[in-house]
């Protein structure tokens, strides 16, 4: 019970603090976390890559990696690759969203549909997205289309699952009220279920984005000539480990910024779960 009281006390005091204080807290603790991350990186790098015979891997250390990252910022190829990777993620998630959102809404709303789809969806969901790679290459003539397919296959499941979960969490009084006011099933979905599920849909987008970044690098190893995954593969082949590590950092930074953007959008829809 003491632990619960302790948690409640600290959560409440944080929730009550103003936006400026929250920002200071967020920056301060973020900085502390990043300092720890850097220390671990230096320590592990020192013990692993400074051993005799491993000197050629010193590019993985923080200083060469950060230097290489600054170098990358002035390379056109890097920015072309960033745009290409973002486009692939954007298109892949968009296709997944266009299919996953209505599917999630419908299977959340109609329990019979949920029962029918549950087993096959759970089965397909468990298959690693990368294991679709050979099938994708057979199905599509272009590597680009195969990449879209793989990112879609990886991201569609969190969108479907979270959206249908959001639908199942809709306040039953809202449904009863809308039915009492004469709403049809279509109106229920559009005017109650969809807006009430927005926080869950945005959470599903956050999860989809995380999964998309995970699969992006291996799928960009396919026969293409742009993308952050491609640069990593290229740097590995040319033994430029500082460049490889710089792209890893770039992936982390871009992913962090995208996630922060979705978090900010989610804040706009806070009303949905306040009531």
């Amino acid at each position: 019970m003491q632990i619960v009281r302790h948690l409640q006390k600290h959560t409440k005091s944080y929730e009550k603090s103003g936006p400026e204080k929250k920002l200071v807290h967020s920056l301060f603790y973020g900085l502390v976390g990043m300092t720890f991350f850097l220390i671990i990186w230096v320590v592990v790098g020192y013990f692993v890559f400074r051993r005799p015979g491993y000197e050629q891997f010193s590019g993985f250390m923080p200083l060469p990696a950060v230097n290489a990252l600054f170098g990358l910022l002035f390379e056109k190829e890097f920015w072309v690759s960033v745009v290409a990777s973002l486009r692939r993620i954007g298109v892949g998630i968009l296709i997944a969203f266009l299919f996953g959102l209505p599917t999630g809404l419908l299977i959340g709303f109609y329990w019979k549909l949920r029962m029918i789809t549950n087993t096959p969806f759970q089965f397909i969901r468990m298959i690693s997205p990368l294991s679709w790679m050979p099938i994708a290459l057979l199905l599509f003539n272009e590597f680009e289309s195969a990449i879209y397919f793989l990112i879609t296959m990886a991201t569609v499941w969190p969108i479907i699952m979270n959206t249908s979960f959001g639908v199942s969490r809709v306040n039953p009084h809202w449904i009863k009220m809308a039915l009492n006011q004469g709403a049809t099933n279509r109106q229920l979905i559009l005017h109650i279920v969809l807006p009430a599920s927005i926080p869950y849909i945005l959470t599903s987008l956050r999860l989809a984005l995380g999964v998309a970044w995970i699969v992006l690098v291996p799928v960009e190893f396919l026969g293409i000539s742009s993308g952050l995954g491609y640069i990593i593969n290229d740097a590995r082949d040319t033994l430029e480990y500082d460049r490889l590590m710089a792209v890893v950092l770039a992936i982390g930074i871009v992913g962090f910024l995208l996630d922060a953007t979705i978090r900010q959008i989610r804040q706009l829809f806070r009303w949905t779960w306040v009531s």
Binding site: N171, M177, Q181, P195
Partner: protein, 258 residues
Amino acid sequence: MKIRIEHLCKSYNLPGNENLPVLHDINLSIKSGDFVVILGASGSGKSTFLSLLAGLTTPTSGKIWVQENEGPEKEITAPHPSRALLFQQPSLLPWLTVAGNIAFGCKIRGEGNDLSYQVNQFIEMMGLYEFAQTHPPKLSVGMAQRVCLARALIGHPKALLLDEPFGSLDTLNRTHLQQELINIWMGERFTAVFVTHDIEEALLLGNRIVLLGGRPSTVKDVFDIPLDYPRSLEDDSFFETKKDILKAFRCAIANECD
């Protein structure tokens, strides 16, 4: 709207194939323009009864008939906006403003003529003018319940079903809203069915009180309340009627009446 209830029974299936009878053989006639209060202890199936009248729940057996303006009697099989329901807890949509919530039903039914004018009228009637563009999380429970009342009334329902709507309000707000409800009912003369466990509230509002009791619940008694509106807790006649009903209420709860 006239409401006629015939041999109404409702039971719920519980996990493990267990059957829980809630209402048993309810027979009741409600005249058009009546203010009927369903009085019963907690767990006596009052909310289930109202849900059946709203068409949100289907009866296990028995039927409920409604009749509008001397037209043909129709059996209740589904919800209909002509029987507006007000819940115990405010059921406002947090992504809509107060005005948006009030207009919600009319919008989905496509009743758009002069809608903003009507919404403004109801906002003013409920004393919510300053809060028209406010979102529900910023409203007090009393204000939120007023918005719900406005939303129920804007479609000019023939029957208003109220499920202990003032139960979570403080005394001051409750008294105020009870008075407002009576004023609106006397102006519009819709049929009102109000569920409560509070005898004083039942006596302040209803021109008929239906006493539910027993397990499963059935109609134990029906009282016609001949008191004039507005009613006051201090009146002698109010006090005498309250004593009679309290006696019957105790009998119904104890299940010892003849």
